[in-house]
Structure formats: structure tokens, C-alpha cells
């Protein structure tokens, strides 16, 4: 019986190709716009997630900010704060990265007989900074604990800088560079080189960033304020819980003025929040596109009503031959569902193509939302069922003799 109804439905759709196509057009436009938007949204969300994960999914950002315009003094963090965190939660922590953005200045280096000057940015960091921010040291090493604690004049430069000034990373090792920040001139010895990348934390920095020990920044450049640091949770430990614990601990240690907020947010929570926000926006737009689908559904209802009116005598004949009401109902509901299903499938194909093209046009790798594809196909069938039911029921309830006599 179901197979017969499917055959009948397909035959009826084929018999009125143009009309069927125009009916499906509403569904096609509705579904394809929903799918296209979902595909773009999904691509965006995924790209955002990946970019945030590349900064370290286990990272916890701790810092302070002032929301008010009034001049407030932001508290700074100290080495002691870090030590207390390590002492309390060391078993859950992989690394802690501290950074003091000293400022920008110039570097001068003597290469052979030439002296080369470059604009640089100087950051005071701790040895854990590199691990915490996924910065790979490709030559030399990070600061040893003795050079770090004594605040020696050592620096780690990027591969890009080393190659530009010294020809190669190897040649840069052990070379001396004179740094001038606010007219404080100091010589630094290059002890390591990091690989510069355009992603993650380094993506926010320039290739001319000099990393020096925090204490060195304090000693020679007189600027070592730390307004934030990064804690990397060990894999498998709950970074959100750790973030909460660290916040509680730090709150007791530093003085926080009115209007200043201390935060300790896990990257995980950022990712979740960003995904949630993008998801909400996507769904909101998709719902607007869903209005097209609703209009399409009304088109289906309209056509089913016409189709049933046209075939009133056929319904009468079927009833005379012994069709029960449910069989007539099933026949026309099946036809509406099949019509919408075809429209839905075509809409999905168009929507996915449009979405992928649009995503790549705005520079994201396309990502198909399987859930929305399945959902749309299911939803288009539901549209058929919903909008096909009323006309089909009208047909099914028709008095056989009235249907047969219909002119």
C-alpha cells in the first residue's frame, strides 16, 4: 500500500512537471537559504574554534581590567603570585606564562663592519611563557633559571629577525644587540631563537619581538609591570575549575580597587561562549530564512488543494471501488511529502553549494553542518505532512457520491 502510494505520488508529480516544479521552488528556496546560512555559520564557528584552540585550549587567562573611565590604578601581578599558584595547584598546571610588555624601541647590532638598526618590541617574560603560549624555540634554549633569576642580559629573538640581521639563526647565537627603549641603552646577548608564526599568541605580535627575562626588563629598562598571565592546565584537568581556584587565590593576594575587575577565564569557556554566540546568530538568521520555507509550505498547501479539487472525480471513483478514508488521506499526504522531500533534497544540494562558496569567499574553510542537512530534509517532509494534511483530509472525508458527481 505504501509502495503503491509512492508510485502514485511520483506519477502525479511527473504528470504535472511544471506545476510540481513551481511548488517545489518555494521549498527549494527556503531549504537552500537555511542550509546556506547554516553552512556559513558552521564554517565560521569551526574556524573560530580552531583559531582559539591554536592559542591553547587548556589556557587560562588571568588579568585585570577597568571598566570605568575614571583613572584607577590597575594592580600588577608579581613573581610571588605565580609561586603561590604553583605551590597550591602545581599538580594541575603544565606551565605558567608571564609577560610584561616593556614597550617598543630600536635595536642596533654590529654585523661585520655594518651596524644595522631595526625597530623592535621588547617583552619581559618568564621561561614558562614559551610553553604556555605554544612558542617553539628552534635554536638555543629558553632562559635558564640562573640567568632568569639574576636578570641577565639575554634575549630570545625570532627566526625572521635572526635571518634578516645575521643571515641565519645559527649565526645569531651569541651575538650582541643594543636595545634602546626610552633612552635606556642596554646590550643583550642572543641565547635562542623562536619560530615566528602568524597564528596563536604570536599572531598578535610582530616578528621583531624581543623576549628578555622579566627581571632584566626591571633592572635595565625599569619597566616590568605584569597586568596578566597565562596558566596552562595539564591535559585532562578541568581548566574551568582551575580558573576558578586561581581567581579565588589571587583575589586574596592583590589589592583590587573599586571599578577594577579580576578575571581568570579558561580558553575553553571563551570557545564555548564564542561558539554559542555564533550559533545563536546563525539560528536567528536561519529562522528568518525559515519564513521562506513557511511560504513554500503554503504553496504546497495551495497546490494540494488545487490538485485535490481537480481530482475530485478520481477520489469518488476510488471510494466507489472501496477505498477507505485513510487510504485516500495517505495517498495525498504521501504526494505532498514526496513533493516537499524532492524540493528539500534539491534545496540541500543548492544550499550546501552556496554555503561552501560563500564560506570560501569570506576566507573560511567550508564545513557542512550535517545536523542541519538532516534536519532540513526531515523538516521539509514535516512541511509536506503539515501542509498536505488539511487538503488530504478534506479529500478523504468527501462523500463518495458528491465526489463522483463533481463537474
Amino acid at each position: 500500500m505504501i509502495l503503491e502510494n509512492l508510485k502514485l505520488a511520483i506519477a502525479s508529480i511527473k504528470a504535472n512537471k511544471m506545476r510540481s516544479f513551481l511548488t517545489m521552488l518555494g521549498i527549494i528556496i527556503g531549504i537552500s537559504s537555511v542550509i546556506a546560512i547554516m553552512t556559513v555559520g558552521n564554517s565560521l564557528t569551526k574556524a573560530e574554534q580552531e583559531s582559539m584552540s591554536s592559542m591553547g585550549a587548556n589556557n587560562i587567562m588571568v588579568g585585570v581590567y577597568s571598566a570605568s573611565d575614571d583613572s584607577v590604578t590597575l594592580p600588577t601581578f608579581s613573581e610571588e603570585n605565580m609561586q603561590s599558584i604553583v605551590k597550591a595547584y602545581g599538580n594541575r598546571i603544565k606551565a605558567i606564562g608571564m609577560e610584561s610588555q616593556v614597550g617598543s624601541g630600536t635595536s642596533r647590532s654590529q654585523v661585520s663592519s655594518d651596524s644595522k638598526t631595526t625597530s623592535v618590541t621588547v617583552d619581559g617574560v618568564n621561561p614558562g611563557y614559551f610553553k604556555a603560549n605554544n612558542i617553539s624555540i628552534i635554536k638555543g634554549s629558553t632562559f635558564s633559571s640562573s640567568t632568569y633569576e639574576s636578570g641577565s642580559n639575554v634575549a630570545i629573538v625570532s627566526d625572521v629577525f635572526a635571518e634578516a640581521i645575521f643571515g641565519s639563526v645559527e649565526d645569531a647565537m651569541g651575538e650582541s644587540v643594543e636595545i634602546n627603549v626610552d633612552n635606556n641603552y642596554t646590550n643583550y646577548t642572543i641565547v635562542g631563537a623562536y619560530k615566528f608564526e602568524n597564528t596563536g599568541t604570536l599572531g598578535t605580535k610582530k616578528s621583531t619581538t624581543f623576549f628578555i627575562p622579566i627581571k632584566a626588563a626591571e633592572n635595565q629598562l625599569h619597566n616590568s609591570d605584569i597586568y596578566g598571565f597565562t596558566v596552562v592546565a595539564k591535559d585532562g584537568s578541568d581548566s574551568a575549575a582551575l580558573a576558578k581556584d586561581i581567581k579565588t587565590l589571587i583575589k586574596k593576594q592583590i589589592k583590587i580597587e573599586e571599578g577594577v575587575t579580576l578575571y581568570a577565564d579558561s580558553m575553553q569557556s571563551y570557545i564555548e561562549e564564542a561558539s554559542k554566540m555564533l550559533g545563536t546568530i546563525t539560528i536567528a538568521i536561519a529562522m528568518i530564512a525559515g519564513i521562506a520555507l513557511l511560504v513554500g509550505g503554503i504553496g504546497v498547501m495551495n497546490i494540494m488543494t488545487v490538485s485535490i479539487t481537480e481530482r475530485t472525480r478520481e477520489i469518488g471513483t476510488r471510494k466507489a471501488l472501496g477505498a477507505e478514508n485513510y487510504q485516500i488521506l495517505l495517498q495525498f499526504v504521501t504526494e505532498a511529502i514526496i513533493l516537499c522531500l524532492f524540493g528539500g533534497i534539491i534545496g540541500v544540494i543548492i544550499g550546501v553549494s552556496l554555503g561552501l562558496v560563500a564560506a570560501s569567499a569570506i576566507g573560511y574553510a567550508g564545513s557542512i553542518s550535517i545536523a542541519s542537512v538532516l534536519g532540513s530534509v526531515g523538516f521539509s517532509m514535516a512541511v509536506g505532512l503539515f501542509f498536505g494534511y488539511a487538503p488530504a483530509r478534506k479529500a478523504a472525508k468527501m462523500n463518495p457520491i458528491d465526489a463522483l458527481r463533481y463537474e
Partner: protein, 236 residues
């Protein structure tokens, strides 16, 4: 009454109508009584014609006899069972199994070939696809349509369409065939061919056939003629 195994058994008539009244729009200004109390009995195996002018109420009567419509008053028994109280679902079932309709305008399902048209009552009866097809082909052969049974109605002539319709009426081996002006849309030669099929069904298959017609000439071919005039059965 008939005698089976030496015993007298009473077999109810296929059709038994008692004082059937049909009123359209009852209780309104336009109230119109079409049938004024029809009493009718048709036994198994009869070939009966119901003759009347258009507007005599013969079509209304046929609709009631065919369970397509319900009488306003009176009782209608089929095979001895009272149809008045039967729900719509039961009527659909009886139409499917016990009545074969042949209409003046054929009422074949458009865009559907002869075999599928003949299969339709069997489909609604829940027969298996294979058995359906086998019987449909057999019936189409019986009415001489073996050559064109995979043609759709718009590829068939009037006479051919009516032959498919007769095959369809026979699909579930009904107790009675109701033919409403079956030759009304055909020329006389084709009409005779169609009448020949009814005669064959009556003589060879012992089918009970009710022919509704306005033609005295066609009616004369049947065993019994019931004249209907102004909603009442009148003597010839």
C-alpha cells in the same frame, strides 16, 4: 428458495429495498423528494434493467443500491444484511468486495494503465501484487483487451475504456454489477459489443447485473424490466 443437498434452503435476495425514500436538502426550503418509497427485490443471478427517463430518480436509486449514498427513509438489505446502520468504513468494504460499478463516463483513473486500473479494487482489498496482476490480466483478456492493457485511458477509445471498466468491476468477483448507462457515451455498434460482454457475464459467470438505462431497446435485452417514473416504480 433453492434446493441444496436435498434440503430446502432460503437464500436472501442480493438486493432488497423496502420503502426507500430519498430527500435532498431535508428540512430546508429547497427540500426535494426524489424517491417516494421504492420496493425492490433482486435475486442472485438475475439480469435486471431499471428504466426511466432522465430525472426519474433512477440514478439516485442506483447510488443507494450501490451504497454510494444512504436513503433518507426505508431499509436497504444486501444479501440479507441491513445496510442502514453500517458505518462508512463497512460500506467501503462492501462496495469493494460485493459491488462492481460500470459508469457511463468510465471513471478510469487517468495516467494509469489498464492493468493498474483493474488492479485498483484488489489493491484496496489487500491482495498481493502478484495475485492482483495475474487476475487483472486474466480479466482484461476476458473482455478482449489483451492487446492494449498497458495503455492509459487517454490512449483508448470509448468502447475500449468501457471494457477496461467492466474488467475492473469484475476484479473482486462481486455479488452484483451495477451498470449506469454503460453504453450511453458509445455508438450503437460499440454499445452492442459492451452489452455482449454483460450477457456473457450473466450467462457464463452467472453474475447478477443491474442495468440502469433510459433505453427501452437495451432494457428489452434483459430478463426483467423495472420501470421508474417520477421516483416511483410503475407497471410497464
Amino acid at each position: 428458495m433453492q434446493i441444496i443437498n436435498g434440503k430446502t434452503q432460503f437464500e436472501p435476495p442480493v438486493i432488497h429495498a423496502e420503502n426507500i425514500v430519498k430527500t435532498y436538502y431535508p428540512g430546508t426550503e429547497n427540500e426535494l423528494e426524489i424517491l417516494h418509497g421504492i420496493n425492490l427485490e433482486i435475486q442472485r443471478g438475475e439480469f435486471v434493467s431499471i428504466v426511466g427517463q432522465s430525472g426519474s430518480g433512477k440514478s439516485t436509486l442506483m447510488n443507494i443500491l450501490g451504497l454510494l449514498d444512504r436513503p433518507t427513509k426505508g431499509s436497504y438489505f444486501m444479501n440479507g444484511e441491513n445496510m442502514n446502520a453500517a458505518p462508512d468504513k463497512a460500506l467501503a468494504h462492501i462496495r469493494n468486495k460485493s459491488i462492481g460499478f460500470v459508469f457511463q463516463n468510465y471513471n478510469l483513473i487517468a495516467r494509469t494503465n489498464g492493468i493498474s486500473n483493474v488492479e485498483l479494487p484488489m489493491l484496496y482489498a489487500g491482495m498481493s501484487p502478484r495475485a492482483r496482476k495475474e487476475r487483472a490480466i486474466q480479466l482484461l483478456e476476458m473482455v478482449g483487451m489483451q492487446e492494449r492493457m498497458d495503455h492509459t485511458p487517454d490512449e483508448l477509445s470509448g468502447g475500449q475504456k468501457q471494457r477496461v471498466a467492466i474488467a475492473r468491476a469484475m476484479a473482486n468477483d462481486p455479488d452484483v454489477i451495477l451498470a449506469d448507462e454503460p453504453t450511453g457515451a458509445l455508438d450503437s455498434k460499440t454499445g452492442h459489443l459492451v452489452m455482449d460482454i454483460f450477457h456473457r457475464l450473466h450467462e457464463e459467470e452467472h453474475k447478477t447485473i443491474i442495468l440502469i438505462t433510459h433505453s427501452n431497446e437495451l432494457a428489452a435485452e434483459t430478463n426483467r424490466i423495472i420501470h421508474i417514473k417520477d421516483g416511483e416504480i410503475v407497471p410497464a
